[in-house]
Amino acid sequence: MAGVAGPAAVLEVEGLCVELSIGGKPVRALNNISLTVRAGETLGLVGESGSGKSLTALAVAGLLPDNAKVIAGSIRLMGEPILGKSEAELRALRARSIALIFQNPTTYLNPLLTVGKQIAEIFDVNPRLLAADGERLSHRKCRQRAWRAAINYLRLVHIPDPERVARQYPFELSGGMQQRAVIAMALIRRPHLVIADEITTALDVTVQAQILRLLLELRQSTGMTLLLITHDMGIVAQLADNVAVMYSGSLVERSDVASLFKAARHPYSQALLEAVPTIHDGRTILRAIPGGIPSLTNPPPGCRFHPRCLRAVDECSRLKPEPISLGPSHSVACHLYQAGQPA
């Protein structure tokens, strides 16, 4: 994807390899992950448990757990390398450029502060967001503007009666409202990249639809760049421009969303699409994928998907497939394909 003209790349991950120390032993949790997210684009990162999608997000945000080590690769945000930065630099970077939204909003919100106060607090740390350039504000004026801004942001995420909600504590809000508040908090700093990790998994279906619509709307109004992590192919189809499919720590396929759904190449991507019966076209036959997700501590040799793959060949159990480009925006890591020639 190098050399393609268009919007600047907000996030560039190249050959990222991360090792986890589990029970004292090193485990390869991420293997040669490369992806690019351009400004204004939504990249859907799809995978099941153990795929490494959340770990990738944490790596990008510089929030890898203590037992994780990056052993190869690079991550660049707005052209600036992330790996190798100190904790203080990372914190500043996160404050300015990246916003993270996770699955469980309750763990994100301080239960002892009202929602409005928590949002207003963000302005305390970034007073420049409240004032025009050069303007100096008194402490009281700051607080007033911060509160009003907090209410405006609550309104932006379609929280009804924002003045009242701002005075409420997180436990008084439903899951959907909490998630909206977290989204509002994420957007205030106008980050370059928003990372949303399974943000609707814990919500009811009708509330999920509201949050997804909100994301669509915000995308249009703010042009935000979104790294959307999910296991739900439906969400990907509705929101993403490009898709990256992960399996057991490796990127198995990268493509624009239309090509993936029309003509997925990797057997795992295909299987994932066929594993969910679609609701709108009659009684589909469900094609189950045999076997289970491989353990990270004792993975299958070669391509990690090969024990479950119906089209596996000899090479699959011996050699790990490298990503091959099948077109300007489509790459796949599978021995069934040759470079440039779709099988």
């Binding site: 009708t206 509201q210 509705q238 609701i279 289970g292």
Partner: protein, 328 residues
Amino acid sequence: MSEPPVIAVDGVTKHFPVRGGLFAAKAGSIKAVDGVGFDIQPGRTFGLVGESGCGKSTLAMLLVKLLEPTAGRISLDGESISDLKGRALKEFRRRVQLVFQDPYGSLDPRQRMLSALIEPLATLGLAASRADAVKKADEAFELVGLDAEILKRLPHELSGGQRQRVVIARALALAPRLMILDEPTSSVDVSVQAQILSLLERLKQSRGLTYLLISHNLVVVRYMSDVVAVMYLGKIVEMARSSALFAAPQHPYSVALISAIPVPDPESRKLAALARGDVPSPVNTPSGCRYHPRCPYAEGICRESEPALTEVRSGHFAACHFPGLATL
């Protein structure tokens, strides 16, 4: 239609008192299930859909007698289940089995799988001897496609998919009349969900089972069910044959539920959020039609009077003053 239904639920209500104040006086009640009625025919899958707080889990517990209804009647094969004791109760337990939502939680963490399977056979008097029980356990494991080696393990040593199969095997070993499946795929990965669903379908065909499938996942319900009922805040708001319901839902809530599912087709971007606001809690149910605060079509009458579940088309029931107004 001469056979009696396996389960007949009639006007079943379950209220939980809410206590408050200084002396824990009764301050109100949670109407978890409020006047629910339906039949399940033998060999069919009845799907019950709803979001959190709709009462579907409470209904499941009422059907297995973990809770007793505040009002109404539940009958198994034509006979009321309300006053069962001793042997009759054990016989009932054998015939109606509930596969719980969280397979990990529903296994004793200290019990090995063989013991977990054998125990109910012993307590319900279904095995002549231990050897007989072990044989039945082996058979059940085979039916669900689990390796006999798993019998020696503890719950935390199994994957989510394996645990789900174990609890299904445990229920199957009793040769029940009705199997209630409460969110059978919520705790497993997508790639494993399909396996579990296929397994359940196969078992239904080969053993002539009857299922009550409870799920918030409409895709799963549609795939498996013959008849579907949509629940909202303790009431059934729509009930019809599966194909009819998904083709032409009559209640605005059903329409909202169905259109809320993100379609895995990028060419067809029609994600609709038709239900306004949040899923309410059953403590303060709205007046009139319970769905009216969220309904884009609500009128005055919806705030004042609660619509009854009426047959709006042949075999298709909806509880709405304006059925068919909302469309997909």
